[in-house]
C-alpha cells in the first residue's frame, strides 16, 4: 500500500508540469532565447496512453503564472526521494510477481475435470515476427511467433445464469504505474499483480474459472491443437476498389481515358440510387479480424513462444488474443477429445506438471537438430 501512496505523490508532482501547457500560448513575449532570465522554464510530460504516434521530444514551456512558486514547491520531490519511490516500487513489483509463481499453494479454487462442454480461457500474446519451418516430409511452412509476456488473471466475474459463461479478465505485459490513472491501477490491486499495459476479457465455462493472480504461460497450449487468433488488422488508410475488394480494374490501353483502377458501373439502373453495402473505395484495415483454426506447431516454454501456422492479423509488437479454436464444434469435431481432452485444465500449473522441456514439437515438424531428410519414395514427399 505504501507504494501506491508513493505513486500518487509522484503523479502529483508530475501534474504541475502538464498544467503549464495550457498557458504556453499566451506567454510568447516572455520567451527569450539564450538569455539567463529564462530560468523558470519547466518541461511537460503528458500522461497519454496513446502509442500509435511517435513520441516527440518535450516542448519547452513557460510556467503557469496563476500558481505561485510555493504551490509548486509543495508538490515537487527531490531527486533522492524520486529515486527512492522508483526503487522501492521495483522491490514491491518483484515480490508481487514472485508470490504468484506457485498459485496452487495459495488456497486454490476447487478444480474440476474436463468435459466436452468445458471452455478454457485463452491468453494474451504479442506478435513478434515470422519465420520458415519445415515438416518431416520437406514441406515448407511459414509460422508466426506469438510471445506470452507476464500474462496474469486479474478478475473473474461468474455467470449470472448457469447457461452463460463467466468472464475472466487477463492482463498482459507489466508496465510502470507512474503514468497511469488511479482508476486503472485499482483494477490490479485486488489481484495483487503489477499493472499491465493491456487487459482483455475471455469467456470461460464455470469449471474453467481460474483464481485471480494466477500466471498463464505458453504451455497453456500444446503442439498439434488448433487455435483462433483475434487481433486488429494493419491500417491501410483510404484505398481504392482494387486493393480493398480485389476488383480487376480496367485495361491499361485500348482507348482507356482516366479509367484504369476504377470500379466501373455500380448497377443503379431501375432504382436510381446506390444500394447500401456496394463495394466502393474507402478506409481499409484497422478492424478486428479473426483467423481461425491455426495449428500450433511448436511451443517454447523457456521464452513462452507459440509457433502458430500461417498469418495473424496485426503489426509486429501488437497484442493478440489466442484461444482454443471454435472449429472443434464443427470442422474438427472428431478431434475434440484427442486435442482438447489432453490439454492442461483449467491451465498449466508448473508445480503440478513439473518442468517441461524447453521446446515442445509437433510430431510432423522437422527439428533442426535432426539429420537431413531422406526420401524413400515419391509419395513420401506429398503433404
Amino acid at each position: 500500500m505504501a507504494a501506491s501512496m508513493l505513486v500518487r505523490a509522484f503523479q502529483n508532482s508530475r501534474q504541475t508540469w502538464s498544467t503549464c501547457s495550457k498557458y504556453a500560448s499566451l506567454e510568447k513575449q516572455n520567451w527569450t532565447l539564450c538569455l539567463p532570465a529564462v530560468t523558470t522554464i519547466l518541461p511537460c510530460r503528458t500522461t497519454t496512453r496513446r502509442r500509435d504516434r511517435l513520441p516527440l521530444p518535450q516542448r519547452l514551456y513557460v510556467p503557469d503564472k496563476s500558481r505561485t512558486d510555493q504551490d509548486r514547491q509543495a508538490e515537487e520531490l527531490t531527486p533522492d526521494n524520486m529515486a527512492h519511490i522508483q526503487e522501492s516500487y521495483k522491490e514491491e513489483e518483484e515480490s508481487l510477481t514472485q508470490a504468484r509463481l506457485c498459485p496452487l499453494k495459495d488456497e486454490p479454487w476447487p478444480r474440476h475435470a474436463w468435459t466436452p462442454e468445458s471452455r478454457r480461457t485463452g491468453v494474451l500474446a504479442t506478435k513478434i515476427g515470422m519465420m520458415p519451418m519445415w515438416t518431416k516430409t520437406g514441406h515448407r511452412l511459414t509460422v508466426t511467433l506469438l510471445q506470452v509476456q507476464d500474462c496474469h488473471v486479474i478478475r473473474y466475474v461468474p455467470a449470472w445464469d448457469s447457461d452463460n459463461p463467466g468472464i475472466l479478465t487477463l492482463g498482459h505485459r507489466t508496465c510502470s504505474p507512474f503514468y497511469l490513472s488511479e482508476e486503472y491501477l485499482r483494477t490490479f490491486e485486488k489481484a495483487g499483480v503489477p499493472p499491465k499495459r493491456k487487459i482483455a476479457e475471455f469467456k470461460v465455462s464455470k469449471d474453467a474459472a481460474i483464481k485471480p493472480g494466477t500466471p498463464l504461460y505458453a504451455a497453456h497450449f500444446r503442439p498439434g491443437q488448433y487455435v483462433d487468433v483475434y487481433g486488429k488488422s494493419v491500417d491501410k488508410g483510404f484505398q481504392g476498389v482494387m486493393k480493398r475488394h480485389g476488383f480487376k480494374g480496367q485495361p491499361a490501353s485500348h482507348g482507356q481515358t482516366k479509367t484504369h483502377r476504377r470500379p466501373g458501373a455500380i448497377g443503379t439502373a431501375g432504382h436510381g440510387r446506390v444500394l447500401p453495402g456496394t463495394k466502393l473505395p474507402g478506409p481499409m484495415g484497422n478492424v478486428v479480424r479473426y483467423t481461425r483454426g491455426l495449428k500450433i506447431w511448436r511451443v517454447n516454454t523457456k521464452h513462452n513462444i507459440l509457433y502458430v501456422n500461417g498469418q495473424v492479423p496485426g503489426h509486429n509488437d501488437g497484442w493478440v488474443k489466442v484461444y482454443d479454436s471454435i472449429l472443434y464444434k464443427s470442422k474438427h469435431k472428431n478431434k475434440l477429445e484427442d486435442h482438447l481432452g489432453n490439454l492442461p485444465f483449467p491451465t498449466y500449473f508448473e508445480e503440478e506438471e513439473g518442468e517441461l522441456e524447453e521446446d515442445l514439437y509437433d510430431d510432423e515438424l522437422f527439428r533442426f537438430d535432426e539429420p537431413s531428410i531422406v526420401f524413400e519414395s515419391a509419395e513420401g514427399a506429398k503433404k
Binding site: A2, L6, A9, N12, S13, A24, S25, E27, K28, W31, L33, C34, L35, P36, V38, T39, T40, I41, L42, P43, R51, D52, R53, L54, L56, P57, Q58, R59, L60, Y61, V62, Q73, A74, E75, E76, L77, T78, P79, D80, N81, H84, I85, S88, H315, D317
Partner: protein, 164 residues
C-alpha cells in the same frame, strides 16, 4: 538514425523529405550543420533540426578520428561548407566530446504561439558556452510531500540495516 518502430510501421519512412530530392535534402542539412558548428546553438524548424541532429552527431564521430585521417577529412569537407570551421571541428569539438558516448546534441521544441505557428526547435552541441535552456533543478526538502517520503525512506533504510 531516427529509426523507430512506429516510424517504420507507418509506411517504412526512414527520413523526411526536405527540398526537392535527395541531393537537395543533403544541401539543406549541410547548411544547418555548418551553422551548428559555427554557433553551437541554432533555432530552425523542428524538421530540419531533427534531421540535422543525426548528421551533426555522426560528424563528431568522424572528427574524433583526427585531422590526419583522409576519410574523416573527406566527410568534414563535404558537410562543412564554410571551410574556416574545419579546424574548429577537429581541434575544439572533437576533444570536447572525447569521453561522450555518441549523444553530442540536445534538441528542444519551442512552444507554438499565435504569432508563430511554425514548429520550431533549438539544436545545440553539449558543452557550449551559453546558459542552459532547462531550469537548474531546485530542491525543496522542507515541503510536505518531501518530508513524508523522506520519513519513509529513513524507515526503509533502517529496516535494511537491521536485516543485514
Amino acid at each position: 538514425m531516427r529509426l523507430s518502430l512506429m516510424l517504420l510501421i507507418s509506411h517504412g519512412k526512414r527520413q523526411r523529405r526536405l527540398g526537392g530530392g535527395k541531393p537537395q535534402r543533403l544541401n539543406i542539412l549541410r547548411k544547418v550543420v555548418t551553422g551548428l558548428v559555427r554557433h553551437e546553438r541554432i533555432e530552425t524548424t523542428y524538421a530540419h533540426c531533427d534531421e540535422a541532429k543525426f548528421y551533426a552527431e555522426r560528424l563528431i564521430d568522424y572528427a574524433k578520428l583526427g585531422n590526419t585521417n583522409a576519410g574523416a577529412m573527406r566527410i568534414a569537407d563535404y558537410w562543412i561548407t564554410e571551410k574556416d570551421l574545419i579546424p574548429k571541428l577537429f581541434e575544439t569539438l572533437a576533444p570536447r566530446f572525447a569521453n561522450f558516448d555518441g549523444r553530442y546534441c540536445r534538441l528542444y521544441r519551442l512552444p507554438l504561439t499565435t504569432q508563430n505557428t511554425l514548429d520550431t526547435a533549438v539544436l545545440e552541441y553539449k558543452g557550449n558556452p551559453y546558459p542552459s535552456l532547462r531550469p537548474t533543478p531546485k530542491n525543496h526538502p522542507n515541503s510536505i510531500a518531501n518530508i513524508l517520503v523522506e520519513g519513509l525512506r529513513q524507515d526503509y533504510e533502517k529496516k535494511k540495516t537491521e536485516t543485514v
